[in-house]
């Protein structure tokens, strides 16, 4: 009895850990406690099955461990035979990944088989994910009350994989290819067809990348981007820079080349790879520009050692000045604008806004916050958690209710993805609506945005350059996959016309959006970058 219960808890712990790892940064994947419960159920069930199959030997611990530990070497086989990629070195680095993947798959099994399978189909491209999807598919099936049968299959599969994972892979590929036309080609909105990313091509890209030496940290980062584990342009750029630091540290210049040349090449590969995982954010491109600029400054005959030190310093400075200090400056400026008993309305989750609100609160300004949230990511919930935790008085509504709640608001604070040269604000989808309604109730709209997010790009609508969300999250796949006339569509970003924005708060000053180009001209770093 004692033994048993211990195992249960064990299983729980494992799951919770996985869930926790996943949870960071991606609020749509914030697996709240009760979810975790579900996972526990899922896994528990599996364990029990396992026990049954393994003649009920009470040591679920072993089995469950097995199922955990399987993954990495599974993957090694998988990759080995498929695309001659020496994995052994990376084995360890993938451990975390897999575990977090497990929890992802769990999440999917929540949303039904179809979902599981489809996401599986779409992103077979990405080997690491594939594994997770494989599991997800299986879990999904289990969920569908076919526990025992699948279990057997699973075991068979396992066996197969262990001996000849090649077959497995082929099977997989065939399955994948003949599904493709059905799933991808039909369901495209004409207006956005240029934004759909053809997964087969994507796959190849990534594969080629993997063949060329890409740093394991980068691979990991890529996955984290792709699975929206890391979101928010600040977070993404910080993550990128930290990863690059590792890359730099591990970079050895080939004999014939000199450092900057060689590394620029590496940098290029890295970016293409990351871009394939998820289109890079403006903040990232700016950061890279900056880095390239520093590379170009390096003298040709510089030793790796010095170069690495120089670059690392440069990066640290960038993070410090462009992100942290800038954030601080903005906080101070906005604090002046928040007065006692104000009601601040904000949308989604921007790390900067969070910082502003919490700091202003700690300074002792008494104010209420209205958090507006919306699909696809429902990030607002995460902001809500954090604000409530630090004791702010919050109201939580969905985007559709904003016109009702807006009357109460005194100011609207919005985060931004980028500020374009024509003064338009590129931000998470929905911001424009908030601004629009705010205007119709005469509520001033402040966009908070560090200058490192300013971009030379010019854009007037949400069509030419944008990113599409995962349609499954909008609507259960089995409802529309079969129906050629129905296409769910989710835009990730949109551009808010400058006439809807009262002011932009940057670390330099509070400006009208129209003066973005001026800033770009004045600001030393960015000017030298271009």
């Amino acid at each position: 009895m004692e033994e048993k219960s211990k195992e249960e808890i064990l299983a729980e712990r494992k799951q919770r850990k996985a869930a926790k790892q996943l949870k960071k940064k991606s609020s749509n994947k914030v697996v709240n406690e009760s979810h975790v419960k579900d996972k526990i159920k899922g896994n528990l069930e599996e364990n029990l099955d396992k026990m049954k199959i393994s003649q009920c030997d009470n040591d679920a611990l072993k089995t469950s461990n097995e199922s955990m530990s399987v993954n990495p070497d599974l993957m090694t086989h998988f990759l080995d035979n498929d695309k001659k990629f020496n994995f052994s070195s990376n084995n360890t680095s993938f451990n975390n990944e897999t575990s977090s993947n497990i929890s992802i798959s769990n999440k999917e099994c929540g949303s039904g088989i179809g979902n599981g399978i489809n996401t599986f189909m779409e992103s077979v491209s990405d080997n690491i994910k594939t594994k997770s999807q494989l599991k997800s598919e299986r879990r999904a099936k289990q969920e569908a009350q076919r526990a025992l049968k699948t279990q057997k299959k699973l075991d068979e599969k396992n066996v197969e994989q262990f001996e000849t994972s090649k077959i497995k892979v082929n099977k997989l590929k065939t399955k994948f290819t003949h599904k493709i036309p059905k799933t991808v080609d039909v369901h495209k909105v004409l207006l956005f067809s240029h934004l759909y990313r053809n997964s087969s091509i994507e796959e190849n890209n990534i594969l080629t990348n993997i063949n060329t030496e890409i740093h394991k940290a980068v691979l990991k980062l890529g996955v984290q981007y792709k699975n929206k584990v890391i979101i928010g342009s600040n977070a993404r750029v910080v993550a990128l820079l930290n990863t690059l630091k590792q890359v730099i540290a591990d970079y050895r210049t080939p004999t014939e080349k000199d450092f900057s040349r060689g590394f620029e090449k590496v940098l290029g590969d890295v970016m293409t790879y990351l871009n394939n995982c998820r289109p890079v954010s403006v903040s990232m491109t700016n950061a890279i520009k900056f880095l390239k600029w520093h590379l170009s400054q390096l003298p040709n005959n510089i030793s790796d050692r010095e170069a690495q030190i120089k670059l690392r310093e440069a990066i640290d400075d960038y993070i410090k000045e462009q992100i942290n200090m800038a954030g601080k400056a903005i906080c101070i400026m906005v604090q002046k604008k928040i007065s006692q008993d104000d009601v601040i309305l904000t949308f989604g989750y921007s790390s900067l806004i969070e910082r502003i609100l919490i700091e202003s609160f700690q300074v002792g300004i008494k104010f209420r916050v209205i958090i507006v949230d919306a699909a696809p990511l429902y990030e607002g919930k995460e902001l809500l958690r954090r604000l409530v935790k630090s004791g702010l008085n919050c109201v939580y509504v969905l985007l559709s209710a904003v016109s009702y709640i807006m009357k109460e608001a005194d100011k609207v604070l919005l985060g931004a993805h980028a500020l374009l040269t024509n003064g338009y604000v590129m931000s998470r989808a929905g911001s424009s609506q908030i601004a629009l309604i705010a205007r119709s109730y005469n509520v001033p709209v402040l966009v908070c945005c560090e200058t490192h997010k300013f971009s030379e790009r010019v854009q007037t609508d949400a069509f030419v350059h944008n990113e599409l969300g995962n349609p499954e999250e909008l609507m259960k796949a089995d409802l529309w996959k079969s129906n050629n006339n129905l296409t769910p569509l989710t835009l990730m970003y949109e551009v808010t016309p400058s006439n809807l924005v009262t002011a932009v708060v940057t670390e330099l000053a509070i400006l009208p959006c129209t003066s973005v180009p001026v800033v770009l001209r004045v600001k030393p770093t960015s000017s030298t970058l271009s």
Binding site: N32, E33, S34, V189, L191, A374, A375, P376, K381, L384, R385, V388, C394, V395, Y396, V397, L398, L399, S400, A401, V402, S403, Y404, I405, K407, R428, A429, G430, S432, Q433, L436, I437, S440, D461, A462, F463, N466, G469, L474, M475, L479, W480, N483, N485, L486, T487, P488, L489, T490, L491, E494
Partner: protein, 346 residues
């Protein structure tokens, strides 16, 4: 109070149909009309005055039973109006039917403050006829509106709609028989009525795109027309429509896309917007916004889940009702034809 009991018996029927549903106001309207038909036939009353009181008492109960259904309220008013009309016509044939307060009336009125207490021959029959007449009108209303479809949708248009509305669906499907065009549907979370619309449209071979509420503004730039239903048309031509409609209308205004509202006359209410909460909006359980199982969070935050948006008349381009198309400013006229002022508050 034994009389009340009797009406309650009728009410049981209606009170059961969608207690919490916000949509399906048409069914409610029909149900209510039938209800009152029974009432008129089966109840014992001598003068129009009796009947009016009867209907009012019953109406009050009904409104209490169906808090979300303004169409029920409208129908009650309509019934009263019918009674009054029949009465006045019966009393003095020569007099024109307009018994509204009007300048003209002020000027010409004699002393007669008619309290509908005269007994009139076969008033009952005439009223019943009139009611069944009206019943017909109701039943045909949707089809009358859909008739207009091809006049408003041209080939390869992109049309945006929000939420779920029987009329809009019928309208688009009708148009689809003759024209080829695309429809974009906003899902309109948290209740996601949009999903059903999208599915049913796509099933009748209309290329449909389902978008999140957050994408509305982004996509509006390429939309040619916004065609929406509404829950209620308010006396000033404003809308009381499903949540999110206001943003749609504003976005449409921003890109100067015409907004066409489909509404059967039974959706016209004599209500004005006074406050956004009381008597106007309905706040349903926050569950769909923030799960109760989110735990402690729910007890620390205020979560609002309103059902309706108010859309001011200046954002509406055109109303299409079973009486044809009208500008928002004309709603007032329709109203004065349909309801009697004394019934504005039941």
């Amino acid at each position: 109070m034994p009389r009340v009991k009797i009406y309650q018996f009728y009410l049981i029927k209606t009170s059961i149909l969608n207690y919490r549903e916000v949509d399906g106001s048409y069914n409610v309207a029909v149900a209510v009309v039938n209800l009152f038909k029974n009432l008129v036939t089966q109840e014992k009353w001598n003068t129009a005055k009796d009947l009016i009181n009867l209907i009012k008492t019953c109406g009050k109960l009904l409104v209490k039973e169906l808090p979300l259904q303004t169409s029920a309220e409208n129908m009650i008013r309509r019934m009263l109006k019918i009674v009054r009309d029949e009465y006045t016509t019966a009393c003095h044939e020569q007099e024109e039917l307009d018994i509204q307060e009007s300048l003209h009336k002020i000027v010409t009125s004699e002393e007669e403050i008619d309290d509908y207490s005269k007994t009139v021959a076969e008033l009952k029959d005439s009223i019943l006829d009139h009611i069944s007449e009206f019943h017909m009108e109701l039943e045909t209303s949707i089809e009358n509106i859909t008739k207009e479809a091809i006049k408003h949708i041209h080939t390869s248009e992109i049309i945006l709609t929000i939420g779920k509305s029987a009329i809009v669906e019928a309208f688009l499907k009708e148009a689809a028989k003759h024209r080829k065009f695309e429809v974009i549907v906003c899902e309109c979370s948290p209740l996601n009525y949009g999903h059903n619309t999208a599915i049913s449209l796509s099933q009748s071979k209309i290329p449909t795109t389902l978008i999140t509420d957050s994408s509305i503004f982004g996509i509006m730039g390429r939309v040619h027309k916004v065609i929406i239903g509404t829950h209620t048309v308010m006396a000033n031509g404003g809308l009381r429509a499903v949540c999110g409609t206001h943003s749609v209308a504003l976005a449409a205004k921003y890109y100067s896309v015409p907004v066409i509202v489909l509404a059967g006359l039974y959706k016209l209410s004599s209500q004005y917007l006074i406050s956004h909460e009381d008597k106007f909006n309905q706040f349903i359980s926050p569950e769909s916004v923030l799960k109760y199982s989110e735990g402690i969070l729910t007890s620390l935050v205020h979560v609002y889940n309103p059902t309706f948006d108010y859309v001011p008349p200046e954002l509406v381009t055109l109303f299409i009702s079973n009486a044809g198309g009208h500008a928002p400013s004309y709603v007032y006229r329709l109203l004065s034809e349909m309801y009697h002022q004394d019934d504005n508050d039941l």
